[in-house]
Assembly symmetry: C2
Amino acid sequence: MPLTLEDIARLSGVSRSTVSRVINADVNVSDETRRKVLEVINYYNFQPNLAARGLATGRTNVIGVVIPAGVSVIFTDPYFPQLLQGISSVCNTRNYSVMLWLAEPEYERRMITRILHNGLVDGVVVAKILINDPIIQSLIDSKMPFILIGRHPTVDVNYLDVDNFQAGRKATMHLVRLGYRRIATITGSQDQVVGYDRYQGYLKALQDTGHPIKPELVVEGDFTEEGGYTAMQRLLKYKPDAVFVASDMMAYGAMRALREARLRIPEDVAVMGFDDIPASAKTDPPLTTVRQPVYQMGSKAVDVLIDIIEAGPAAIRKVLMDTELVVRASCGASKME
Amino acid sequence: MPLTLEDIARLSGVSRSTVSRVINADVNVSDETRRKVLEVINYYNFQPNLAARGLATGRTNVIGVVIPAGVSVIFTDPYFPQLLQGISSVCNTRNYSVMLWLAEPEYERRMITRILHNGLVDGVVVAKILINDPIIQSLIDSKMPFILIGRHPTVDVNYLDVDNFQAGRKATMHLVRLGYRRIATITGSQDQVVGYDRYQGYLKALQDTGHPIKPELVVEGDFTEEGGYTAMQRLLKYKPDAVFVASDMMAYGAMRALREARLRIPEDVAVMGFDDIPASAKTDPPLTTVRQPVYQMGSKAVDVLIDIIEAGPAAIRKVLMDTELVVRASCGASKME
DNA sequence: TATGATTATGGGAGCGCTCTCAAAAGACAA
DNA sequence: TTGTCTTTTGAGAGCGCTCCCATAATCATA
């Protein structure tokens, strides 16, 4: 049977209250008493019961992490392990624990109420929510602090995301600087925020550098390899010399289409991807792409969430994070030199 | 403020005890009363506070999952996401929650005591523990129910693992049946249980089928690509016609060595891997290998653990799971036909 | 030395639940 | 009607902690 506060109190000849003060680093304890109590605590390796503390304080120092299962089956990408590492790391340093919920559809509704109302967690991180997921409204109604990973277009909630606009701009700028003149794009689905934002970044880069925007050089994809392939086929007749593809998966498809058309990468057409999934380092040629700071997104999200939990409700926090251009061979070297 | 049992009791005109009985499906409640109370509970979407319940019962219905960080940085493999899915799935159906700990080395000791003694979890699943990790002794001392994923050679604890011996045997048998005569093996480190077991399976298959065991056809590797490469180089002069490599990673190295030696796979040398990491479907040629039922390992481990938690201490449970041969092109078709 | 301010400690209530035990309410037979 | 047995309900204590308040001890100052 584990020891209790009362046991420690008895063993060190003080009251339960004093032991509690020592554990919670209250200043109103004499050095002598503190020393005595700590000795006993360390000797017995005492750990206060967190369920009891949770009951007394109304706070558990546990955060929930919700990952929709529909998303978490995507195993080709180290996204979730990295995200969890980031989350876990901050939780460790800030003395929180992580409750993980992989939300299977059939349990989803039951589960949500269980999470929200059972007093088990102080706040929730929701990863990669599907647009218009009912969970968001439940969360808002519950008054539980929460943060989304992936920005939400319509509802005013705390979120953290990659700055897809700047990233799209940065990627396109890279192509511009290398001297490409007919820069096409295969966008993501325009009804998804990420697809839209990356496309807007592409447009901005061209505008800023005085490049004309040619509608025929813009094709909408759907984030799949197949979609990238057909999109590239359609682009071919307009003879682009470079293409910014809004996801690595689509970029693979685009590269396949180029190979079939006997075009060399990057000599005939340069290819820029987005995501930097691991396989992109090993394509032929290795893919230049944009990397998201996944680990940092996890840690930052939790940091913000814990701030909200501990400081109480404040202004909505919207955090955008920078991406990193990963230059490999698929865009070639400068055409200027 | 969330409602309490007392609130529900008042609202439905019964006592706190009766509401508790209804929630816990106690039989000693009249149908009429039960109906009345359930109505109120559903109307207000009441959820009992789990911290309070935990305090009262000494059970939390939470299991801890510990993944050493040294291992979880391995991102090339969907191992952990799949394992977590399996774990999570059973937890959902059996009404448990998952507390996730990615053990960073610097926090490890602190964390372990926190997990074990703070009354937050009823049991622990420890994934891919390093051999002789001190965590095992701590777990044993703590009397907390726990199960290892990955069998432990020396200490007598609950574990669940893949049957590496049978798997090694099965893989080798496949090569035998295809008619290969000089079947070599690149083993894993022999000081790791998995490496040893797979090698023993190889030996058994050869014995059972009356093949002589040629020591020159056995080279010890270290589970790295580089190790597989050098091991294969050493094997070449003994002219094997097939090689069972104890991990896919090493198999990639072995294939590289074969390509450099201008040997065709599988015409000159067949290659059998182990693990079925995703990239193995896309090597040239695609790698025949052994797949571990990772998802099932997660779910089975939790199933066993919860049984132990709910039934109380019993005999040590040691579970071995079957593997699946994934036949692709790297071992060719039968030489007999 | 008495007084008040300050610091250190202990006692009690209460967080929301479960669980035991006793009492109340019915059911039934004599 | 009374008594016995069974079913249903309620009251109370307690899980291990925090937090408030009262009291005791210490110290500075008049």
